[in-house]
């Protein structure tokens, strides 16, 4: 027997994909293929291997950009969270970046760095960095005062407090900042492929649109969304597993 939540999830998927299929058959628009056509196209792209080469291309700026953002973002966040002076100096920049539509910087990046990998990596970085920095900084600032006091009263050095108390206590929030950063990085990677130069999945989307091969276009979009959602879900599972006891175990529960 399958349980109720799973059954309802399947039912819900069936309703949505069914509606897609019907809307495609009507058709609501010449540019709206049916669900089955799109899945056939996806199957074809997979068999041909096109989708794999495309992803290799798309994931390159994403991986590079997210790694850079993670390294500098966490470092910066720790720094901002630990020092009032750096908080005053840097946090306004990241607060503004967080609220601002940074995508508007893309034309400048293209002028400065051309249409190659560098620009795309930059796009991923500016999208992913602010949330990583702000999450890390607030996690560090919100380390419970009593466990820092505990460290001090048991003669911890400043270094001990940062390494043995602040960083472990902050790591769940840092990790979820990283997950949000990756989610924003996906947006940046796809945006840069659609806006700067069509490569990878962006190329499949743009090319199949230009030759009116809508099933392939929908297939590519479908696959990138599924990939992103599955990957982010996996990260969330890992997060729950790694930090199971971390968010509990304080006095309040």
């Amino acid at each position: 027997m399958i349980n109720r939540p799973l059954a309802l999830k399947l039912l819900s998927a069936f309703i949505v994909f069914g509606a897609w299929e019907i809307a495609g058959r009507v058709p609501v628009s010449f540019a709206f293929p049916t669900f089955i056509e799109s899945m056939q196209a996806l199957f074809r792209l997979t068999i041909e291997g096109t989708i794999f080469t495309a992803y290799a291309e798309t994931l390159k700026p994403l991986v590079v950009g997210v790694s850079i953002s993670a390294f500098f973002g966490i470092g910066m966040g720790l720094w901002v969270g630990l020092s009032q002076r750096f908080e005053w100096l840097f946090s306004p920049i990241f607060i503004v970046m967080q609220a601002a539509p940074l995508a508007a910087l893309i034309p400048i990046l293209v002028m400065a760095y051309g249409i190659g990998l560098t620009s795309k990596v930059f796009v991923v970085c500016i999208m992913a960095m602010p949330v990583i920095v702000l999450n890390t900084a607030s996690a560090v600032r919100n380390t419970p005062a009593s466990i820092k006091d505990m460290g001090k009263s048991f003669l911890a050095t400043d270094r001990d407090i940062v390494l043995k108390i602040v960083i472990p206590a902050a790591s769940p929030v840092i990790f979820s900042g990283l997950r949000l950063g990756i989610s924003a990085g996906f947006i940046g990677a796809i945006l840069s492929e659609l806006k700067i130069t069509p490569t990878g999945v962006g190329d499949i989307i743009t090319y199949s649109r230009s030759i009116a091969d809508y099933p392939s276009m929908y297939a590519a979009i479908f696959s990138i969304i599924v990939l992103a959602v599955l990957f982010l879900n996996l990260l969330e599972r890992i997060e729950d597993f790694l930090f199971e006891g971390n968010n509990r175990g304080y006095v309040s529960d």
Binding site: R4, P5, L8, K9, L11, S12, I15, V16, S29, A31, F32, Q84, R85, E87, W88, L89, F90, P92, I93, I95, V96, Q98, A99, A100, P101, L102, A103, A104, L105, I106, P107, I108, V110, M111, A112, S183, F186, I187, A189, I190, L191, L194, K195, V201, I205, T206, R209, Y214, M217, Y218, I221, I224, I225, A228, V229, L232, N233
Partner: protein, 250 residues
């Protein structure tokens, strides 16, 4: 930060960064960073131009329309799935999927379905904003204290009164929180939409400036955009604080 016993205002370091910008610009280190003063002069000239006003108007129109639909659809849907377990289990997975999905990838679909115009940009904006609004409205309804519900019943409130005098207000802090994040996302959505459909609003303006290497124009527009986005998000944060005084003591 505290200097000479006085607390410096939170955002005051931006002045320091502005100064740094001016200095870097004055040295002529790179063509891409003109001095801030030059950008500000350009800013005042640009604001008056019809091209800028048209872009501003189109963007504001798409933004307001997009946010309007996101709220008008999102809040009731959120309240509905917060109240009904069946609808919750049917709809929530999709909300979560679209909340974290790279929605940029959907813009090409909107372009072929709804054309290279306003309609696609408004839908993009709505798509960026709506999911978090649904999710937060749902959370707002879910957390309403049982004893508050029982209080309303025990004093004989009609369903209509119970909804508008109790539930709505009890869920308001979460709903407003969702709207605030939704608005921030909508700003990003409207710009991303315009960049990809670059014949409307700021998308067209950016295209014009970057093709002609008009750097200080470019930065001037960016400053306006960023300042507006930031003010908007602070304004909503302020609204949220206005109601959150009772959020803690519900």
């Amino acid at each position: 930060m505290i200097v000479f016993g006085r607390r410096l205002p939170g955002m005051s370091s931006l002045l320091l960064w502005a100064l740094l910008w001016e200095i870097v610009g004055q040295t002529g280190w790179t063509f891409f960073i003109p001095p801030l003063s030059e950008v500000l002069v350009t800013l005042f000239n640009v604001i008056g131009t019809p091209a800028f006003q048209k872009a501003m108007y189109e963007t504001a129109y798409a933004f307001v329309a997009g946010v309007f639909f996101a709220i008008v659809i999102g809040v009731p849907v959120g309240i509905l799935i917060g109240k009904s377990r069946l609808l919750d289990e049917l709809i929530l997975p999709w909300v979560n999927i679209f909340l974290s999905a790279p929605l940029t990838a959907l813009v090409p679909v909107l372009m072929v379905l709804f054309g290279f115009g306003m309609k696609s940009i408004i839908i993009t904006t709505t798509l960026f904003a709506i999911w978090i609004i649904i999710l937060n409205s749902r959370a707002g309804v879910k957390q309403i204290n049982r004893s508050l519900v029982e209080m309303a019943h025990s004093f004989g409130a009609s369903p209509f009164d119970a909804f508008f005098k109790v539930y709505f207000w009890a869920a308001l802090p979460e709903i407003l929180g969702g709207v605030r994040i939704g608005v921030i996302r909508a700003v990003k959505g409207v710009i991303i939409g315009q960049l990809l459909i670059s014949i409307v609003g700021f998308g067209a303006l950016f295209e014009l400036y970057s093709n002609n290497f008009m750097m200080s124009h470019f930065w001037a527009v960016l400053i306006v955009l960023f300042a507006l986005a930031f003010s908007l998000s602070e304004f909503f944060a302020y609204l949220e604080r206005r109601v959150s005084y009772y959020a803690a003591s519900r």
